[in-house]
C-alpha cells in the first residue's frame, strides 16, 4: 500500500522530493506499529493463546491476559507513540500546524 509514485503526471514537481520522503517515513512508522498491533492481539491473543496459557502470572494464564488486558494496554500505547512520533516527523519536514500559520503560509 506504500505505492506512492508520481508516474501519473504532476504528482511531485521537482524540488518536492520532501513529500516522498515524508510519506515514506509515515508509512514505515505505520507498518512497524501495525505489526506490533497484530502480534499482541491476533498473534498472542488468538493464535498463540493456548501455548501462552501454560505460563501463569499472578493467577492469569498469559494467553488470557494478553487477550483480555495486555492487547488493550498495548493499543493505547501504540496510538500515543504514533501521535508523538508524527509530531516529530511533521516538525522535521516543516508541515506541523501552528495556530498562527493558518492561511497565510505561502511557501
Amino acid at each position: 500500500m506504500s505505492d506512492v509514485t508520481y508516474e501519473n503526471g504532476g504528482g511531485a514537481p521537482p524540488g518536492e522530493d520532501w513529500r516522498r520522503r515524508y510519506w515514506k517515513k509515515n508509512v514505515r512508522l505505520l507498518v512497524v506499529l501495525l505489526a506490533i498491533w497484530a502480534t499482541v492481539s491476533l498473534g498472542f491473543g488468538v493464535l498463540l493463546v493456548e501455548p501462552l496459557n501454560n505460563i501463569v502470572i499472578l493467577g492469569f494464564p498469559l494467553g488470557l491476559w494478553f487477550a483480555q488486558q495486555g492487547a488493550i494496554y498495548t493499543f493505547v500505547l501504540l496510538i500515543l507513540v504514533y501521535a508523538l512520533w508524527m509530531d516529530r516527523i511533521d516538525k522535521e519536514f516543516g508541515v506541523d500546524e501552528r495556530p498562527a500559520a493558518e492561511g497565510g503560509d505561502s511557501r
Binding site: N8, G10, N26, L33, A67, M86, D90, G94
Partner: protein, 556 residues
C-alpha cells in the same frame, strides 16, 4: 416505591436534566456547527465524547455479561472493539480530518464519484440503523427492571431526550452531552467493580485481583456444567478460526463505522485528531479493561450464590429479574445443578447476558444508590451512542443525499438546517419503531453492524487514502460485492426476514464474516481499478494533499 427504585429514578432524572441543560447551552444555528461542531472541540473533550459515542449499550450492559459466560473468548469483543481504534487512529482519522468536510459519504463521494456517494450514504444509514436498534433495546432493559416500566416506555422516553438535544444542538450539543455521559457511565461502571474487587480480592483494582479468583471460578464453573473460564475457544462453536475472524471483523468494522469516524472531523487540527484518538482509546480502555474483571467477579458471585441451594433458597436479587423475564428457573424443588445463559439449554438456572452488569451490584450485595447509579450509567451509554448514530443517519440523508444530490448544492444555509433537523426527527421516529420491535439480543444486533461496516466502508476508505489509483468503478464494485457477500452470509445463517437458519460454513459465525467481506471488497476494488481508467488529476492531487497536515513552512 422501593429504595432502589427511588435512587434509580433520582439518578435518571438528574442525569437527563444535566444532558438537557447542556444541550440548551450549546444549541446551534449553522450547518458547520450542526454537523462538525465548528471544528472547535478540544482534544481531551473530544476523546471523552468519542469514548461515550463509541461505548454503546452493548459495551456497558452486554459485554461483561457475555464475558461471564464465554470466558476467555469474550476477548473477541475486548480486542475487536479497541483494536479497531488503532486502525482508525493510524490509517483514517488524521487524513480524513485534513480533508475536513462533514460526513463519511462526502469523502468517498469527492474521492470517487456521486454514485459511490449514494451507495455510501445508504450504507451509512443501514449500518447506523442496525446499531441504533441495539441502543433502544439496551435502554429498555434498564427501565423494565429498575422502574418497573415496560420496555416500550423506555424507548419512547429515551427517544424524546435524544430528540431534544440532537435536533437542537446537532453535533455540538451531542458532543458536550457525550462528555457528561462519559463521566456518568465510567463512574457507574467503576464504583461497583472497585467495591466488588475489594470485597472478594481484598484489593481495589479489579484488573489485578480477578486473576486471583480464576482457579476457584474454573472449579465452580465445571461443577455447574459450564466450560472453564480460562479455556480458550470453548465459548464459541467455531473454535480458533471463528475467534480469529470475529476479532478481525470487529476491528475492521470499528474503523469503518461512520459515527466514530465523523468525530475526528470535529477537532481543530490534524494533530488534534491524532491525540483525540489517543484520548478516546484511553477513556475507552478504562471500561474495557474493567469489563472482564466484572464478568469474572459476577460469575463467581452468581455461582457461589447458587452453590448447594434449591430454587427457593436463591439470593433475593433473582426474583425481580425473573419477574421482568430475564432469569428463568427450571429446578422447581431440587438443587440448582446447572447454570446457563442459553434459553434453549434447559439448565436449572438460566440468566440472560444482558442483565449481568446491571445486576452485578445486587449480586455483590452493594447498597441501593450504587444500583441506581448503574441504571443511569446504562442509560448514558445507550443515549450517547444513539445520538451519535442518529446524527450520521440524518447527515447522510440531509447533507449527502438532499444537499449534494437533490439540491445540487444550491440550498440555502437555512433550508439545509431545516432539512437536517427534519431528517433527525425522521430518524428518531423510525428508531422508536425499530426499538419497539427489536430483533435478537443487544450485542448480537450490534455485531452485525460491524460486519457490514467492515465489508463496505473500511476497504475503500483505506484505498482511497493510500492508493491513488483506486477509482470510482472499483470502489462501487468493491462496496457492493462486500455488502452482498456479508449480508448474504448473515441472511443465510440467521433467521431473519423469515428465512431458515443454515449451518455455519467452516464454523464461521455471521459475526465473523465481515473480515472476509472486507477482503473481498479489497480484492474487487483493486482488480476493477486496475482494469479501468485511473482517477482524474484533480482527485489524485486531493489524495496527495490530505497526506500532509499543512503547507510546508520551512524548506527541508
Amino acid at each position: 416505591m422501593s429504595s432502589m427504585q427511588f435512587w434509580t429514578f433520582l439518578f435518571l432524572v438528574l442525569s437527563f436534566g444535566l444532558y438537557i441543560y447542556i444541550a440548551w447551552r450549546s444549541r446551534v444555528k449553522e450547518t458547520k456547527e450542526f454537523y462538525v461542531a465548528s471544528q472547535g472541540v478540544p482534544t481531551v473533550a473530544n476523546g471523552m465524547a468519542v469514548a461515550a459515542d463509541w461505548m454503546s449499550a452493548a459495551s456497558f450492559i452486554g459485554m461483561a455479561g457475555m464475558i461471564t459466560f464465554m470466558g476467555s473468548d469474550g476477548a473477541v469483543y475486548l480486542m475487536g472493539w479497541t483494536g479497531g481504534f488503532v486502525l482508525l487512529a493510524l490509517l483514517l482519522a488524521p487524513y480524513l480530518r485534513k480533508w475536513g468536510k462533514f460526513t463519511v459519504p462526502e469523502f468517498v463521494g469527492d474521492r470517487y464519484s456521486d454514485s459511490v456517494r449514494v451507495i455510501a450514504a445508504i450504507s451509512a444509514i443501514v449500518v447506523s440503523f442496525t446499531y441504533v436498534v441495539g441502543q433502544m433495546t439496551g435502554g429498555g432493559v434498564v427501565f423494565a427492571r429498575f422502574l418497573g416500566l415496560s420496555a416500550e416506555w423506555a424507548v419512547v422516553v429515551a427517544a424524546a431526550v435524544i430528540f431534544f438535544y440532537a435536533v437542537l444542538g446537532g453535533m455540538k450539543g451531542i458532543t458536550y452531552t457525550q462528555v457528561a455521559q462519559y463521566i456518568v457511565l465510567i463512574i457507574a461502571y467503576a464504583i461497583p467493580a472497585v467495591a466488588v474487587s475489594q470485597q472478594i480480592g481484598g484489593f481495589p483494582i479489579p484488573q489485578v485481583t480477578y486473576g486471583t479468583i480464576l482457579s476457584e471460578l474454573d472449579a465452580l464453573r465445571t461443577e455447574f456444567g459450564l466450560h472453564e473460564f480460562t479455556e480458550a475457544f470453548a465459548g464459541r462453536d467455531g473454535g480458533q478460526l471463528d475467534v480469529f475472524l470475529v476479532t478481525a471483523s470487529l476491528m475492521l468494522g470499528t474503523a469503518g463505522l461512520p459515527h466514530v469516524i465523523i468525530r475526528f472531523y470535529t477537532t481543530k487540527t490534524v494533530r488534534g485528531a491524532r491525540f483525540s484518538a489517543f484520548w478516546a482509546l484511553f477513556f475507552i480502555s478504562l471500561l474495557y479493561l474493567t469489563a472482564p474483571a466484572v464478568g469474572a467477579f459476577t460469575n463467581l458471585n452468581l455461582l457461589r450464590g447458587a452453590q448447594g441451594s434449591t430454587a427457593d433458597e436463591l439470593p433475593s436479587w433473582i426474583d425481580p429479574w425473573a419477574d421482568a423475564g430475564y432469569v428463568t428457573l427450571n429446578a422447581e424443588d431440587g438443587l440448582i445443578d446447572t447454570v446457563s445463559n442459553d434459553a434453549a439449554s434447559g439448565a436449572d438456572l438460566i440468566v440472560s447476558n444482558d442483565i449481568l452488569v446491571l445486576a452485578s451490584p445486587e449480586i455483590g450485595g452493594l447498597p441501593a444508590p450504587i444500583i441506581g447509579l448503574m441504571a443511569a450509567g446504562g442509560m448514558a451509554a445507550a443515549l450517547s451512542t444513539a445520538a451519535g448514530l442518529l446524527l450520521v443517519i440524518s447527515s447522510a440523508a440531509s447533507h449527502d443525499i438532499y444537499y449534494r444530490m437533490i439540491s445540487k448544492e444550491q440550498a440555502t444555509e437555512k433550508t439545509q438546517m431545516l432539512v437536517g433537523r427534519l431528517a433527525m426527527t425522521g430518524a428518531v421516529i423510525v428508531a422508536i419503531f425499530a426499538g419497539l420491535n427489536p430483533p435478537a439480543f443487544v450485542a448480537q444486533v450490534v455485531a452485525f453492524a460491524f460486519g457490514l461496516a467492515a465489508s463496505t466502508f473500511f476497504p475503500i476508505l483505506i484505498l482511497g487514502i493510500f492508493w491513488k489509483k483506486a477509482n470510482a468503478k472499483g470502489a462501487a464494485a468493491g462496496m457492493l460485492t462486500g455488502l452482498v457477500f456479508s449480508a448474504g452470509y448473515m441472511i443465510y445463517t440467521l433467521e431473519i426476514f423469515g428465512t431458515g437458519a443454515n449451518d455455519h460454513i467452516l464454523g464461521i459465525s455471521p459475526e465473523g464474516i465481515g473480515a472476509i467481506g472486507a477482503l473481498v471488497n479489497f480484492t474487487v476494488t483493486i482488480i476493477v481499478s486496475n482494469l479501468t481508467r485511473p482517477p482524474s488529476h484533480e482527485v489524485q492531487e486531493m489524495v496527495e494533499s490530505i497526506r500532509y497536515p499543512s503547507q510546508q513552512t520551512t524548506k527541508v
